[in-house]
C-alpha cells in the first residue's frame, strides 16, 4: 500500500510548470464542450428511446440489476485499459504527441464527469437510435471518463521512469518494440496502474449509479441497474427499497473487491520493482485456492504459455512505428509544421469560444453562473476544512495503533468506493422531515463520499511514518501542540494533500447530483453551480449546460494550480532528506 501511494504521489504532480501548452489544452477542452453542447441540441429532437423496460422495485430483481451495473463497470474498465495503453504510449514515445496529449489529459481530469453526461447520452442515442445501446454506451462512456485519465497518467509516468539499466539491458538484447512493451514497460507500470484502477473503480461506482437514470429535456432514460432502481425508489418514496439497494451495492462492491482486485493486487506483487523481499505480501484467498486446485493446472499453464508467446513474439513489422527517424532537417520542418497546426487549432478554438459567448449565451447567464460557481467554491473549501479537522486527528490516532489501522483502513477504503449518492435519499428524507434549510444541509452531501480519501491517506501516512522519529520525539518528551506541529503534521503532509486533492475533486463532481435532490415530488435546491448544471440538464438547455461545465472546469483547474500544486510541492520538498 505504501509503495502504491508513493506511485500515486509521484503521478503528474511534479515540476510541470504550467505554460502555453496548458492554456492550449484548457481552451481546446472548453471549445469541445461548447461545440458538443451546440451539436447535442440539434441532435436531440427526433429521437425517442422505446422499449425501455420498466424498473421493478422487487427485491428479486436486484441481483440482476446489480449484475448489469457490474457489467457496465467492467466494460468501462476494459475500454479504459485499451485507451491507457494507446494514449499513454503515444504520449511517452512521441515528443510531438506529448506536447498536446499530456496537458490535454491534465485538463480532462478536471472536467466534471456528470456535467457532460447529457451531451454524450444524446450523442450515443443518435448513433444507435431506437434501441437501448445508445444510453448503455453513454453510461459506459461516463464511467470511462471517470477512470481513464488517471490510469493513463500513471502509465505515462511509469513509461518515462523505466529504470535506465533495464532500458539498456532491453536495448542491448535488441528487444523489438512489441517485446519491450510487454516484457519491460507494462510489467514495470503494473503496480501503479492497478492501484490507479482501484482508485478509478471507487469513483466509478458513483458515476455508474448516476448515469443509469438520466433526464435530458423530454428524453427520459433508465437503464436496468442499481442506479435506476434507486431513482425509481425515490420517485415512489420507497425508503425500504433504498435500504435494499444499499445492501445490494455493499455486497456487490465487496464481491468485486474480493473477486477482482484482491487477486489482481496479489498477482501484481511480482511486478514490484524493489529488489527486496516484501515483509507483508498482499494475499488473496481466491488466488491461493486457485493455485491449490490441481485440476486447474493444465488450464493455467496453457494460458500462461499463450501469454508468454504473445509477449515474446518479435512482431518486427510493428518496429517502424515507435521510432520513425527523420533526418535532422526534415525533423525540424516537421516540428515547425506541427507547431503551426497546434497554433492554428488554438486560433480556431478561440474564435469558436468568442462566437459562443457572443451568440449562444447572454451576459446574464454568465453572471448567474459565476455567482453559482462562487457559492460552490465556498462550499468545497469549507467542507475540506471541516473534513480535515475531523479526519486528520482521527486518522493519526488510528494510524498510530497498527491493530486499529488494520481494521479501519479497509473499511475506509470501502466507504470511499461506496457510491454516496445512494445515501442521498436518506439525507433528503431527514431534511424534509425536519424542514431544515436545504442551502445549508444539502452541502455536506458533496463530501459524503470523498471525505474517506482524507482518512485513509492520513492513516497510510501515519503507518509509513518512520518509527525512529516517533521514538526520538517520545524520548525528548515532545508533546501536545508541539508534537503535532513539529513531528506528525509535517510528516504526513504529502499524504494528506493527496487525500485532500481527491476529496476536493470528488466534491466538485458530486455537487452536480447533490445540490439538487428530490424525494418523490419534493425537490430541494441548494443553489450553486452543480444545481445550475442539473437544472439546465433537466430543461435540456445545452448552451447553458456547456457554460456551467466550462466554468466548473475552470474553477477546478484554478484550485489545482493555485492551491493544491504549490501545497503539494511544498510538502514534498519539506519531507525529503536528500
Amino acid at each position: 500500500m505504501d509503495q502504491n501511494l508513493t506511485l500515486l504521489l509521484r503521478n503528474g504532480w511534479k515540476q510541470r510548470i504550467p505554460g502555453w501548452r496548458d492554456l492550449f489544452a484548457i481552451v481546446l477542452v472548453l471549445t469541445v464542450i461548447l461545440l458538443l453542447g451546440g451539436g447535442a441540441r440539434q441532435m436531440l429532437m427526433p429521437f425517442t428511446v422505446t422499449h425501455q423496460p420498466e424498473i421493478s422495485l422487487s427485491i428479486a430483481a436486484l441481483p440482476n440489476y446489480a449484475l448489469r451495473t457490474v457489467m457496465r463497470m467492467l466494460a468501462a474498465m476494459v475500454a479504459s485499459l485499451v485507451f491507457t495503453f494507446i494514449y499513454a504510449t503515444l504520449a511517452a514515445k512521441s515528443k510531438r504527441a506529448e506536447m498536446v496529449l499530456i496537458p490535454l489529459l491534465d485538463v480532462l481530469q478536471s472536467v466534471p464527469v456528470l456535467g457532460y453526461l447529457s451531451f454524450t447520452t444524446v450523442f450515443f442515442i443518435s448513433l444507435f437510435p431506437h434501441n437501448a445501446l445508445g444510453p448503455e454506451l453513454a453510461a459506459i462512456f461516463a464511467i470511462f471518463t471517470s477512470q481513464a485519465w488517471n490510469m493513463a497518467f500513471s502509465f505515462y509516468e511509469s513509461l518515462r521512469m523505466v529504470p535506465a539499466d533495464l532500458d539498456e539491458a532491453s536495448r542491448s538484447f535488441r528487444f523489438s518494440g512489441w517485446q519491450r512493451f510487454w516484457r519491460l514497460e507494462v510489467p514495470f507500470a503494473m503496480p501503479g496502474l492497478i492501484w490507479n484502477m482501484m482508485m478509478s473503480m471507487s469513483g466509478g461506482w458513483f458515476f455508474v449509479v448516476a448515469s443509469e437514470a438520466i433526464t435530458v429535456g423530454a428524453l427520459q432514460i433508465s437503464l436496468p441497474g442499481i442506479g435506476s432502481y434507486v431513482a425509481t425508489a425515490i420517485a415512489q418514496r420507497n425508503l425500504s427499497a433504498i435500504v435494499w439497494a444499499i445492501i445490494a451495492m455493499t455486497i456487490t462492491i465487496v464481491a468485486y473487491d474480493q473477486l477482482l482486485f484482491r487477486p489482481l493486487v496479489a498477482w501484481a506483487e511480482k511486478f514490484r520493482f524493489e529488489q527486496t523481499a516484501a515483509e507483508v505480501s498482499s494475499q488473496s484467498w481466491l488466488i491461493s485456492s486457485l493455485r491449490r486446485a490441481h485440476f486447474l493446472y493444465p488450464v493455467g499453464r496453457m494460458i500462461s504459455r499463450t501469454m508468454q508467446q504473445i509477449g515474446r513474439a518479435r512482431m518486427t513489422w510493428l518496429a517502424p512505428i515507435p521510432g520513425i527517424t527523420f533526418s535532422p532537417l526534415a525533423s525540424k520542418i516537421a516540428d515547425r509544421v506541427w507547431l503551426m497546426i497546434v497554433v492554428m487549432g488554438l486560433g480556431f478554438c478561440l474564435w469558436t469560444l468568442g462566437h459562443f459567448l457572443n451568440h449562444e449565451v447572454s451576459i446574464i447567464d454568465v453572471k448567474i453562473v459565476m455567482q453559482a460557481g462562487l457559492l460552490t467554491f465556498l462550499r468545497v473549501i469549507v467542507l475540506i476544512i471541516l473534513a480535515s479537522l475531523i479526519w486528520v486527528p482521527i486518522g493519526v490516532v488510528v494510524g498510530l495503533r497498527p491493530r486499529w489501522a488494520q481494521v479501519v483502513q479497509p473499511f475506509a477504503q470501502f466507504l470511499a468506493a461506496f457510491p454516496a449518492n445512494l445515501m442521498f435519499p436518506m439525507a433528503v428524507f431527514l431534511i424534509v422531515r425536519f424542514n431544515a434549510n436545504p442551502r445549508i444541509w444539502l452541502t455536506p452531501l458533496m463530501i459524503l463520499g470523498t471525505q474517506w480519501y482524507i482518512l485513509f491517506n492520513v492513516i497510510a501516512g501515519v503507518t509509513a511514518f518512520p518509527s525512529d522519529l516517533l521514538e526520538s520525539a517520545r524520548s525528548f518528551r515532545i508533546k501536545g501542540w508541539r508534537w503535532w506541529r513539529d513531528v506528525m503534521l509535517p510528516g504526513i503532509l504529502p499524504y494528506y494533500v493527496t487525500g485532500a486533492i481527491t476529496a476536493s475533486g470528488g466534491a466538485w463532481n458530486a455537487s452536480i447530483v447533490s445540490e439538487v435532490v428530490s424525494w418523490g415530488p419534493t425537490r430541494l435546491n441548494g443553489g450553486g453551480l452543480g444545481a445550475y448544471i442539473a437544472t439546465m440538464t433537466d430543461a435540456g438547455n445545452f448552451p447553458q449546460i456547456a457554460l456551467g461545465i466550462t466554468f466548473m472546469s475552470v474553477c477546478v483547474i484554478a484550485m489545482n494550480r493555485l492551491l493544491w500544486r504549490p501545497l503539494y510541492a511544498f510538502a514534498e520538498r519539506r519531507t525529503r532528506l536528500d
Binding site: D165, L166, E168, A169, R171, S172, F173, P187
Partner: protein, 434 residues
C-alpha cells in the same frame, strides 16, 4: 592471456562525445578515445567518476552513439546494439518480474528461436555459471552475488563474441565479489566461456590488476586515455606478491601525478576562484587527516596501502587526497600522501582549533571560499544569493560541475564557520558575530 593475437574484436577509433547542455552549448565528456579490444585478452578501463568510462563502454555496446569517430565491430561499423556483444551491468539490470530462468531466456528473445532451443541454451548457461537449483527463483529472493550470476548467465547465453562489463562487482560486498571474480577467471582460463574478449570498466585498482591483461587509465575533463599498462603476471595472480604490488603502486602514481598535473594546470590557466573542487566532504577530509596522523601511518602512506584495509575505490580515496593536497594539509606525490606541518597539527588538535586551522587554509588556498567571504564582507547586509556565485562559476565550468563545486565549498565553509548558507532563501550570509 597466453595466446593473445592481434585480431581486433571491437575497435573504437577517435571517439569523441559531447552532451548538449540544457542552457545551450556543448559539454565534451570524451575526447579522441582509441581503444582496441583484441581477441584473447581482458582489457580494463580504469578511471574515477567523471572520466567517462561507463560512456565508453556504452558506446562500445552500441547503446550510445558517439559524436565523432566510429566503432568497428569485427571490422564493420557498429550502428546499434549488435548480436554478439553482451553487457553485464553494475546494477544487474534483471527483470524483477521474471524468474531466473526467464531472465536468462530473455537474453535470447531477440533471436526468435524455437521455445525448446531457448530453454536448452538457457539451462546450459545457468549450469555453467553455477545457478542450478535457482531456476524458478525471482531476483528479489537472491543475494546480490547470485543476482549478478544471473546477469552473467543472461549475457553468456547469447554466445557473445565480446563481453562488456560495467563495474560488475562494485555493487557487491568484498567476499562476494572475490568469489565471483575468481569463478569468472577460472572459466575464462579453462576456455569454457564463449566470448573471445572481455572489456571491463572499474574504479578498483586491485581488481583491474588482478583480472586484466592490459589496463587503460583514463583522465577526466574531458575523458581521455592517460596511460596504458601491461600486466604480464601469470594467472592466477597473488595479491600479496611483490610484483603485483609494484603494478598497483605504478597505477596509483600515474593517477596521482595526473591529478596533481590537472590541479596545477587549473591554477596556471585561471588563478581565479572558478576551479573545480574535488568531491570530498569536510568529514572525510578530517577522517583522512586523522588516519594519516595515527601512529600506525605516522603522517605518511602509500595510497595503495591506505586503500586496502578500508576497501576504498579510487572514486572515494583520490578526491579526498586531492582535497588535502589543495588545502595544503598534505602533499601528494607519486602515489604517496604525506601530511604537512599544518596537517600534523590538525591531526592532534581539538574541535575548535581544527575549525580555525581549516578556516585559515580555506581562505588561503581555496580562492572560491576566499571570494565568497570577501563578497559577504563587502556587502552591508552580509548576504549574497547563491545564484550570483553560480553564474560566476558557470563562466568557466558546466552547470553540473559548478553545482558540485558550490556544494562542496558550502560544506567546507559551514564546517570552518567561514560563512552560512540558508537552503530556503538560497543565500550565503555571515553572522555579524563571526
Amino acid at each position: 592471456m597466453e595466446q593473445t593475437n592481434n585480431d581486433a574484436i571491437v575497435a573504437l577509433q577517435h571517439i569523441g562525445k559531447t552532451f548538449s547542455k540544457p542552457e545551450g552549448g556543448n559539454l565534451p565528456v570524451l575526447a579522441d578515445i582509441n581503444i582496441t579490444a583484441r581477441s584473447g585478452e581482458i582489457l580494463g578501463l580504469l578511471g574515477r567518476s567523471g572520466s567517462g568510462k561507463s560512456t565508453i563502454l556504452r558506446i562500445a555496446a552500441g547503446l550510445i552513439q558517439p559524436s565523432t569517430g566510429q566503432v568497428l565491430y569485427n571490422g564493420t561499423e557498429l550502428v546499434g546494439p549488435a548480436e554478439g556483444i553482451s553487457v553485464v551491468f553494475q546494477t544487474f539490470a534483471l527483470f524483477p518480474w521474471l524468474t531466473v530462468l526467464e531472465n536468462v531466456e530473455a537474453g535470447l528473445d531477440a533471436l526468435g528461436l524455437p521455445a525448446e532451443v531457448t530453454r536448452q541454451r538457457a539451462l546450459a548457461a545457468i549450469d555453467l555459471i553455477g545457478l542450478d537449483g535457482f531456476e524458478s527463483a525471482y531476483p528479489r529472493e537472491l543475494s546480490g552475488g547470485m543476482r549478478q550470476r544471473v546477469g552473467f548467465a543472461r549475457a553468456l547465453v547469447v554466445q557473445p563474441t565480446i563481453l562488456l562489463m560495467d563495474e560488475p562487482f562494485s555493487a557487491l560486498d568484498v567476499l562476494t565479489s572475490e568469489i565471483l571474480r575468481s569463478d569468472l577467471l577460472d572459466l575464462w582460463h579453462d576456455h569454457q566461456l564463449p566470448m573471445k574478449s572481455i572489456l571491463m570498466v572499474t574504479h578498483n585498482i586491485e581488481e583491474a590488476v588482478l583480472m586484466c591483461d592490459r589496463i587503460l587509465i583514463l583522465a577526466s575533463n574531458p575523458g581521455r586515455i592517460a596511460a596504458e599498462i601491461q600486466v604480464p603476471l601469470p594467472q592466477p595472480r597473488n595479491r600479496l606478491a611483490a610484483d603485483f604490488h609494484d603494478i598497483v603502486d605504478q597505477v596509483y602514481s600515474i593517477l596521482t601525478s595526473r591529478a596533481i598535473e590537472s590541479i596545477d594546470a587549473q591554477h596556471a590557466v585561471q588563478a581565479s576562484f572558478s576551479q573545480l573542487l574535488p568531491i570530498a566532504s569536510s568529514i572525510r577530509i578530517c577522517g583522512l587527516i586523522e588516519t594519516l596522523g595515527s601512529t600506525y601511518f605516522n603522517a605518511q602512506a602509500e595510497l595503495a596501502k591506505l586503500a586496502r584495509p578500508f576497501v576504498l575505490g579510487v572514486d572515494v580515496l583520490l578526491p579526498v587526497a586531492e582535497a588535502l593536497h589543495q588545502l595544503e594539509f598534505a602533499e601528494l606525490k607519486a602515489g604517496t600522501i604525506r601530511l604537512t606541518a599544518a596537517g600534523k597539527i590538525f591531526a592532534q588538535a581539538g574541535i575548535d582549533e581544527r575549525k580555525q586551522l581549516f578556516r585559515k587554509h580555506l581562505l588561503q588556498f581555496i580562492p572560491l571560499a576566499a571570494h565568497i567571504r570577501h563578497v559577504l564582507d563587502e556587502r552591508g547586509e552580509h548576504q549574497a544569493p547563491r545564484l550570483r556565485f553560480m553564474s560566476e562559476l558557470e563562466d568557466h565550468l558546466n552547470t553540473a560541475d559548478a553545482n558540485r563545486t558550490l556544494r562542496i565549498v558550502t560544506d567546507w565553509g559551514r564546517y570552518a564557520e567561514l560563512f552560512e548558507y540558508d537552503a530556503k532563501t538560497l543565500k550565503f550570509s555571515i553572522n555579524a558575530a563571526t
